[in-house]
């Protein structure tokens, strides 16, 4: 596996070291025995973490893996005393180099945090103060612990930013977080966690929401840190992310450890069914046509009384018919300062009935704009889109409305695409656009049928989106997209915000629905694994231009364009699948 970045290439001499590196002190040893964390709510204590034990040796990496709600973040936070006031933390031992952390006072915690244990939070945008230049933010970590004087700190900040691979650190240190890209923000955050050269770094989902190439850079940076003797606790929902870095893996589910062992053992010879399901949930080119999740009661069942929708298309279908065709799409945006950027530049594609066209690219590549153009939600500067052989992009909106039921959309963030005043049933009732003349009872029956098709229990329909889990919300969004009986569904990063295990269920659902209803998908994602699992044809986009197109097999195994090669090399190591 190769990384293509500057971070690792930095010669070791430039890495600032506060502590003389000479005697390899056996510091940074952490052991946690039978940690149990609960939260007090209305008098009762709700256990969220039970009997978690692990130990961290200097220069090693322990990965805690599990889906949202498994208690992995709470586990990490209790090691730095950040569980909050309502938490009840109990443990037989939490020892940092023999010092008992269970009885640490606030004062002691403050001395430990930052100096001995650095904490990297998941979301760099919300973890950094938006009003302060990142350099100041990092300098503050130093100043809090009384490190050096102002000038020394300023120099140290530049060193730190350089060490984490930030180009032209002098300039970047003066910029505020919103002026930096996601990857640079994450690096600034890592720099501030590394500032005092702590012995232990806790990274809570450090690469979630980052593009694959940036993710690879951040993981390389952490690997580099580990090589310098820092112990790392890495938290992720994705086993493939931790595979490269972890020496020891703790798999958590529902607050309990279901499996714990050496990385090699957990990844290559998993003992627990849940670990196997996590490994199998990772989509990729080799999983095409296979199910990613174990069949659950909530997965879509074939419907005996299927609506009169198009027949399922056989794999060797006789005539492929273009349902959506885009020719030379161009979209330009004018920024407030007058510069014109071309977000989509001469993009053409054809989506055949019953197939999936995947568009892969990183943020800013123009893939989402392409989706909006295909949906005619955004006006074209030139080019044209035809839907089911009819004029589409050139029509006035009023005439387009009748055709809209043929193409629907699922967004990355379903919550913001739901009216907050409506419950799930109301949302779905509203989406039955072809239901004119049907009685309320008929419509409700159709909504219930939709819920069944996307594997949602009926009682969910009375709930509000805010009270639903991410997976449930996305199922509602898919049900809404299905409601008008469309031919085409545009899925814009539809599974990107989900845990791998939930993502696997949703991907399986999409495959099932496509088979049952002969749907065509325009699937947009930054994740090459997801794209190659699902797509029949793939477009690779970069800076608004299609740089490569072909079958997933060709793109994955014989990439022609250097950018495609970079994307593929950035994919994390894949743990071996087990049947």
């Amino acid at each position: 596996m190769t990384y293509t970045i500057g971070a690792v290439q930095a010669p070791p001499e430039t890495i600032p070291a506060v502590r003389p590196a000479a005697p390899p002190l056996k510091r940074g040893r952490l052991s946690v025995t039978n940690l149990t964390v609960g939260f007090r709510r209305r008098g009762a204590v709700h256990q969220v973490v039970q009997n978690v034990s692990f130990s961290l040796e200097p220069g090693q990496c322990v990965a805690i893996v599990g889906e949202s709600g498994s208690g992995k973040s709470v586990t990490a936070r209790s090691i730095v005393g950040l569980t909050g006031r309502n938490a009840v933390v109990e443990a037989d031992a939490i020892l940092l180099d023999g010092e008992d952390l269970r009885t640490a006072t606030d004062r002691q915690w403050r001395r430990i945090r930052g100096r001995r244990i650095g904490f990297i939070l998941q979301d760099a945008l919300v973890s950094l103060d938006p009003l302060r230049p990142v350099g100041k933010e990092i300098a503050e970590a130093l100043a809090l612990h009384g490190w050096g004087n102002r000038r020394e700190r300023a120099a140290k900040v530049i060193d730190l930013l350089r060490a984490v691979g930030v180009p032209s650190p002098q300039n970047r240190a003066r910029q505020r977080p919103d002026e930096l890209s996601g990857g640079l923000r994450q690096r600034a955050l890592i720099a501030s966690a590394l500032a005092l050269d702590p012995e232990i770094i806790i990274a809570d989902e450090p690469t979630t929401a980052l593009d694959v190439t940036v993710q690879a850079q951040v993981l390389a940076l952490l690997a580099d840190t580990k090589k310098r003797g820092v112990s790392v606790i890495l938290i992720s929902h994705d086993l493939s992310v931790v595979a490269h870095l972890a020496d020891h893996i703790v798999v958590m589910q529902g607050g309990r450890v279901v499996e714990s062992g050496s990385a090699d053992q957990v990844l290559n010879n998993p003992g627990h069914a849940y670990t196997r399901s996590l490994i199998n949930a990772v989509p990729g080119e080799d999983t095409r046509g296979k199910r990613l999740s174990a069949p659950t009661p909530t997965s879509a069942a074939p419907n005996p009384a299927a609506p009169a929708t198009p027949q399922p298309v056989a794999d060797d279908g006789p005539v492929l018919q273009a349902v959506l065709q885009a020719v030379d799409l161009v979209k330009r945006f004018t920024t407030p300062d007058g510069t014109v950027t071309t977000a989509v530049d001469n993009v053409s594609f054809t989506l055949e009935r019953g197939t999936t066209l995947g568009i892969v690219g990183e943020s800013g590549s123009g893939k989402s704009t392409t989706a909006r153009l295909a949906l005619a939600l955004s006006s074209l500067d030139s080019g044209s889109v035809t839907l089911l052989g009819q004029e589409w992009s050139s029509l006035p909106e009023a005439r387009r409305r009748t055709l809209r039921r043929e193409i629907s959309v699922v967004y990355q963030d379903p919550l913001s695409s739901f009216d907050p005043r409506w419950n799930a049933e109301r949302i779905l009732l509203d989406s039955l656009t072809d239901a004119a003349g049907q009685s309320t009872a008929q419509k409700k029956a159709r909504v219930a049928e939709l819920a069944r098709q996307v594997g949602l229990p009926l009682e969910i329909l009375q709930r509000f989106p805010l009270n639903l889990s991410g997976g449930q919300r996305q199922r509602i969004a898919i049900a809404r997209a299905l409601a008008p009986n469309p031919s085409v569904i545009v899925l814009d990063e539809a599974v990107s915000a989900l845990d791998v295990s939930i993502q696997a269920q949703i991907l399986d659902l999409l495959v099932d629905l496509q088979k049952q209803r002969g749907l065509s998908y325009l699937f947009i994602s930054h994740d090459l694994g997801v794209i190659s699992h699902l797509s029949d044809q793939v477009l690779v986009m970069k800076d608004g231009v299609v740089v490569e197109r072909g079958t997933p097999d060709a793109i994955f195994n014989r990439p022609a364009h250097p950018y495609t090669r970079e994307l593929i090399s950035s994919l994390p190591d894949h743990p071996r699948r087990t049947p």
């Binding site: 739901f418 009270n467 639903l468 889990s469």
Partner: protein, 292 residues
């Protein structure tokens, strides 16, 4: 005044349904006190006879400038009239001015705000500039100007306070409509093929108006304070009326001998404004929680 509607923070959680928080929780003490206070004021407005202990207009020079006592709860004024009963009888006028001004300002604000948000480039731009110019005037100064034009009376007080506070609310409403119009759910409705009228009716208006429920309660308290200020400056209701601002103005002369004539009506105004604001705050919070 700013009303920020915090976007719902979607927390990613596992497929397993999150346990719903228990529905019934005892309402906080502040809310009970505020609701009780408002109930008293509403009673005083509808049926002041139920609460008053004396005739608010009966002169009794023998008991002039009597300090608060068991007989005269809030004391008496220079003509021996019972201050408590006068405050009770003054509630109707004060509240009507407050509610009237609020209704007027919100109606104006809704009209201005919708045009500023949904109008064409030229119309919206013009309305926006007008709102900005009006906002540059302090509300009270603007209200003073209007009263100066229309002459002092209860009606002109309603008009002045209503028009004076409209630009601020128009700005809030414009922001609400714009954020609703640019929201994901409106785009989702467009993608479903719903027409403009339907989207406006189903999504934009209800979501833009939702925070107004809170604004209304906040605004009533504010309007009463402003109306009282106008009366205090002698630009409102004429003196014999027990309107609260007029009471304050009348008591000003005796502030060294009879503190209760100014302090007590002042406290009553504060109590009403506080109660209305507390209630408004609670309504706002429960709306932001996304509860039904």
């Amino acid at each position: 005044m700013t009303t920020s509607v915090t976007p719902a923070t979607g927390t990613k959680s596992a497929e397993t349904p999150t346990p719903r928080p228990p529905r019934r929780t005892p309402p906080p003490t502040g809310l009970i006190v505020a609701a009780g206070t408002l109930l008293l004021f509403v009673t005083a407005m509808i049926a002041p006879g139920l609460l008053a202990t004396h005739d608010p207009y009966a002169l009794n020079l023998a008991d002039a400038l009597h300090a608060p006592s068991f007989d005269y709860w809030f004391g008496t004024d220079e003509a021996g009239r019972d201050l408590y009963s006068r405050v009770v009888y003054g509630t109707r006028e004060s509240l009507v001015i407050g509610l009237g001004a609020t209704a007027l300002s919100l109606t104006l604000a809704l009209a201005l705000g919708s045009v500023a948000a949904l109008g064409g480039r030229f119309v919206a731009g013009t309305v926006n500039r007008v709102i900005e110019v009006l906002l540059a005037f302090p509300t009270l100064l603007f209200a003073l100007l209007l009263v100066a034009i229309t002459g002092p009376s209860a009606l002109s007080q309603v008009f002045a306070v209503g028009v004076g506070s409209a630009p601020g609310y128009a700005r809030i409403i414009r922001g609400q409509i714009l954020s609703a119009r640019n929201s994901g759910y409106v785009e989702a409705a467009v993608a479903l093929g719903h027409g403009n009228g339907r989207i406006l009716r189903q999504h934009i208006v209800p979501n833009a108006v939702r925070p107004l429920v809170a604004i209304i309660t906040l605004s009533v308290g504010q309007s009463i304070v402003w109306a009282s200020s106008l009366s205090f400056l002698g630009l409102g209701v004429a003196p014999p009326s027990p309107e609260w601002g007029a009471l304050l103005d009348a008591g000003r002369v005796y502030i060294t001998q009879a503190w209760w004539l100014t302090v007590i009506p002042g406290l009553v105004i504060v109590a009403l404004a506080l109660a209305a604001t507390t209630l408004g705050k609670h309504i706002q919070n429960s709306l932001e929680k996304g509860e039904k």
